[in-house]
Amino acid sequence: MKRVYLDNQSNTKLDERVFNNMKPFFTEYYGNPQSIYSLGTVSKDALETARAKVANLINATAKEIVFTSCGTESNNLAVKGIAGALKAGGRHIIVSSIEHFSILNSVKRLEKEGFEISFVPVDGKGNVDDSALKKCLRKDTILVSVQYANPEIGTIQDVKKLVSVVKQSCNAGKFIAFHTDAVAACGVVPVDVKDLGVDALTFSASVMHGPKGAAALYIKEGLKINPQIEGGVQENSRRSGTENLPAIVGFGKACEIAKEELADNNKFIRRLRDKLTNGLLNKIEHIYLNGDMENRLSGNVNFSIEFVEGEALFLLLDAKGIMAASGSSCASKDLKLSHVLRAINVDSAVGQGSILFTLSKFNTEEEIDYVLEEFPDIVKRLRDMSPLYSHFIRTGERKSAGPGADFDGHSH
């Protein structure tokens, strides 16, 4: 059957060139990079070559890169490690309301340990307003973490501006660290840590056609961080544990390719994205684009499709070989509408019909044509059996939430 993979925010296909670079490090160069005999030296050299390539993608220096196992680990290290190192200066942390769960649950943990957390809201398109961030800043603020781009709605923040707001308020020797989760952005759009002025930045191999199992935290030279995994001397004792060398080598190659091909890929993916976005808007009524139309990840298409439910949409898409995602309650493990859709004030009934397509360089124009051909029929099929749609057609009115409509508690 046809397979059209449009869930690249969740994971990407490994680039063959990356795979070929990784292969020798499984069975041929298996030495521990910390060993000083020849096989270890080969590994050590490969580790450092990869580190230089990874650093180069974001215009950092190699020693500012700490390898981890995934974006979640990098975010845990950033939030808990920086908070731990800076807590003498205060215990207040600011994060945005649309962060990844690895940030949200890390600050939840810190809250239990006596830190205070402020959540800076976003506007209807998912942008963090710099004046809203300014209002959250306090004398005892030590860390601000705002993601670079949201993987679900695609909105890209003006991180540079947000950093300058935070840095301006650092006065008289007071330091506030700025971390950004750039997992959804790195390798997709140009990211330059020097230009942004951030102190720490998370990025991962698996969303840029690299392997699973390798990610990094950029830690600006001079920034102290408390390790979260303690052991030997790896990663300058900032992240101990034997290095996952094949994955790290793959990460390095993925960064190298991303840097070289980013501009071309971006242009190509954006064209497909716009074709899909405009095509769906033309072919289907009562659909709403979520996120910012302009400041948007090049591969992100997120619509709320009124009168239908997202899980049913992606199951029918899957039956046609098309893989997508949804932020609906039913599509989530905790049966809640996605926290990102709630944060941008998407109507809680309309948001149930959210469908997310995320594109990559491996998608083709034919695939987008195929989605544009199949998806309107799928929507029609579900609307034909939807009581909400027949009510709307009959009365011209939307069926509003009835009594007991507490979608958080999900009480029936």
């Binding site: 439910e309 199951l315 029918l316 939430a401 409509a405 029936h412």
Partner: protein, 123 residues
């Protein structure tokens, strides 16, 4: 293992008895659009039996499969038999449902019970 049983996927892909009955003897509605699941059932009753049943459902794969199979289970049964049908019976007939779907999407029997109550209240 697939998220849903084969039976769920089969009913979801080919739902039976979708539609409305204009001159229905009873109508039952359960759920809420805000929760992501809502079902409306229409019944025709003849000689104390469900002579015809149609439904419209807004919801996930489980909600649609539940609506479909419960409509089949009810057709031709006496009103008492249908009133004795539980949501658990429906889940069992579908070869089970994922735990997080048992509560919110498995409302088919409730909707039918409401339709029967609606029918009785009109008599």
């Amino acid at each position: 293992m697939a998220f849903y049983s084969e039976k769920v996927m089969e009913h979801f892909a080919n739902p039976r008895n979708v539609g409305e009955i204009k001159d229905a003897d009873g109508v039952g509605e359960v759920g809420n659009p805000v929760c992501g699941d809502m079902m409306t059932f229409y019944i025709k009753v003849d000689n104390n039996r469900i002579k015809n049943v149609r439904f419209k459902t807004f919801g996930c794969g489980a909600a649609i499969a539940v609506s479909s199979i419960v409509s089949e289970m009810a057709l031709g049964k006496t009103l008492e038999e249908v009133m004795n049908l539980t949501n658990a019976d429906v889940a069992k007939a579908l070869g089970g449902l994922p735990p997080n779907k048992m509560h919110c999407s498995n409302l088919g029997a409730d909707a039918l019970h409401k339709a029967i109550e609606n029918y009785k209240s009109k008599k």
